[in-house]
């Protein structure tokens, strides 16, 4: 079984007051995500991408259809903790997800909840902190750290639980460009170590780094494929008022002027490479 997450005809509605219609956030969505892959989920505000993320580890339960994590139904109370251990989650706001006022204690929070042996927790915490380059901050207080550093602590807290998959719910949305870059590098490193990554984002330049992109619009899958395949649909993406990466945009404009740039050029590096060799 190589797929970790399997979503079958899932729908999700937010309840509102009795006299008003519930809001349909997700409508009949099916998706499988393979072990060890790096998938980016993109969508506008209100497209349902964050709701989808919270359904992946049982923080929200679908109102229709099923979500399976490693074969466990997220609606099954018996395995909910297995589900959450398998699929860790990093949230948007770095401040609101740290529990403890000491960095290393916060990282230990997850393993402590799992009932891991104290000696092993110590090892896991040290390893997780050094994997996000925050080892020297382990006795500091989170409120003295920058947003990017806090987000790295949050990632370490999830890594220490040894998940097979980490869901990042817009982890860079509240960070400055430098913090954003740090977090993206760490996400790529974790992926290289074999952890499956699902990155929810609205930054296209981050999504390009994934090996699969799923665009969600109005609670449905709008486009799904490799970055090359997805960004080929330049006009479709623009039609739901989403942006494309800067390099794709530039390549498209150059094409309009008669320069034949191949469609698999989607990153800035790729474009620079091509333009340099263009004659």
């Amino acid at each position: 079984m190589s797929e970790i997450i399997r979503i079958e005809n899932m729908s999700f509605e937010y309840e509102r007051d009795e006299d008003r219609e519930p809001v349909k956030a997700i409508r009949d969505l099916s998706l499988c995500v393979e072990k060890g892959s790096f998938t980016a989920i993109i969508g506008k505000n209100g497209s349902g991408k964050s709701t989808l993320a919270k359904n992946l580890n049982g923080l929200l339960l679908p109102t229709g259809g099923k979500v399976f994590v490693k074969g466990w139904d997220t609606a099954d109370d018996e395995h909910i903790w297995d589900v959450r251990q398998t699929a860790g989650m990093v949230f948007q706001n770095p401040d609101n997800q740290l529990v403890s006022s000491i960095v290393e204690d916060d990282v230990a929070f997850g393993p402590e909840n799992l009932g891991v042996d104290p000696v092993e927790i110590r090892q896991r915490v040290d390893k997780a902190l050094s994997s996000v380059n925050m080892g020297e901050y382990k006795n500091k207080s989170p409120h003295l750290l920058s947003g990017g550093q806090k987000q790295r602590i949050a990632i370490a807290g999830v890594v220490a639980m040894k998940p097979e998959c980490i869901i990042f719910d817009e982890p860079t949305a509240m960070l400055d460009p430098r913090g954003r870059q740090e977090i993206m590098d760490i996400i790529e490193e974790l992926h290289d170590e074999g952890i499956m990554v699902i990155l929810i984002t609205h930054f296209m330049d981050e999504a390009v780094r994934a090996d699969r992109i799923v665009i969600v619009n109005e609670g449905r899958i709008f486009l799904d494929g490799t970055p090359g395949e997805v960004f080929r649909e330049y006009d479709l993406i623009k039609s739901i008022s989403l942006d494309v990466p800067m390099a794709v945009e530039l390549a498209q404009r150059l094409r309009k002027r008669g320069i034949k740039i191949p469609e698999d050029v989607i990153t800035s590096e790729g474009l620079v490479e091509y333009v340099c060799q263009y004659r």
């Binding site: 919270k54 580890n57 923080l59 903790w81 959450r84 251990q85 860790g88 989650m89 949230f91 706001n93 401040d95 609101n96 997800q97 740290l98 529990v99 403890s100 006022s101 000491i102 290393e104 204690d105 230990a108 929070f109 997850g110 393993p111 402590e112 909840n113 799992l114 009932g115 891991v116 042996d117 104290p118 927790i121 110590r122 915490v125 006795n139 500091k140 207080s141 989170p142 409120h143 949050a154 807290g157 999830v158 639980m161």
Partner: protein, 266 residues
């Protein structure tokens, strides 16, 4: 002003006091408070102050840091001082209208102020030298016998440790809201007390709303990290009492005995 409150803030250092088991430190503060209320003259306070000084030196916390924690309670200190000085009967030293200062009044006022200052310093030293998590672990351990009669010891400790984590954050939030409103012309500094109190309402409402939002986010993050109460939970740092801890506790008890005998003798 908002950053001055040191209560609940940890001062990182590697001193003998920092290394002491938090249970001993909590017991120490409780005993010290008892000491302060047993004492009934300035000789006793001298002893208490000397003991506290020794504790401060051992803790390696800079005095400047401790004094910063006293600033916010300065107002309370002045108020109790004034109340005592004018309200207590005795030999009248100075009188103006209904205001009178008596020798008893001065004595009581100074007495109370000293007691209050020592009390605050001792309790803020507890939080300055003990990581909040150790503190709440200590409280949890001290309360664990009560769990058998239905006291949710773990939950209380968890609630407290989260409160400690979010105090600096809520202060920052308050600062942010105040600045945002000052930028739009809000005035928190002028006017009488009633007006100033009224101008706080637009701060408290958004603060209240945002703390609910934070609580919701945090609850979700904790659930995502498999938090399910105290059951089946292990700890990275297990608490074990060492020889030093027993020694410190013995010294604290001995000091209590000294204070009691001082009161009996003098």
């Amino acid at each position: 002003m908002i950053r001055d409150i040191t209560l609940g803030q940890y001062y990182a250092a590697d001193s003998p006091v920092h290394r002491l088991d938090s249970r001993v430190k909590i017991a120490g503060v409780l005993l010290y408070i008892a000491d302060l209320f047993i004492v009934d003259d300035f000789i006793g306070f001298g002893l208490c102050a000397a003991a506290l000084c020794l504790y401060v030196v051992l803790s390696q916390v800079p005095v400047k840091f401790i004094m910063r924690g006293l600033k916010p309670i300065l107002l309370i200190l002045i108020m109790t001082f004034c109340l005592n000085i004018f309200m207590v009967d005795g030999r009248i030293l100075w009188q103006w209208g209904f205001l009178k200062v008596t020798d008893e009044g001065i004595y009581t006022a100074v007495f109370m102020a000293v007691r209050l200052i020592l009390l605050i310093i001792a309790s803020s030293l507890l939080t300055l030298t003990t990581k909040p998590i150790e503190l709440t672990d200590g409280i949890e351990k001290l309360m664990s016998p009560l769990a058998k009669i239905g006291v949710p010891a773990h939950d209380i400790a968890m609630t407290m440790s989260i409160a400690l984590r979010f105090i600096p954050m809520l202060l920052e939030e308050t600062d942010k809201i105040m600045k945002a409103q000052q930028a739009r012309g809000a005035d928190f500094e002028s006017g009488n007390i009633l007006r100033r109190a009224k101008s706080l309402i637009p701060i408290l409402v958004p603060l209240f709303v945002s703390s609910f939002r934070i609580a919701q986010d945090l609850a979700m993050a904790m659930e995502a990290r498999c938090y399910r109460g105290g059951k089946g939970r292990t700890r990275m740092k297990e608490m074990r009492l060492k020889g030093v801890d027993f020694l410190a506790f013995f010294l604290m008890l001995a000091f209590l005995a000294v204070v009691i005998s001082e009161r009996v003798v003098f």
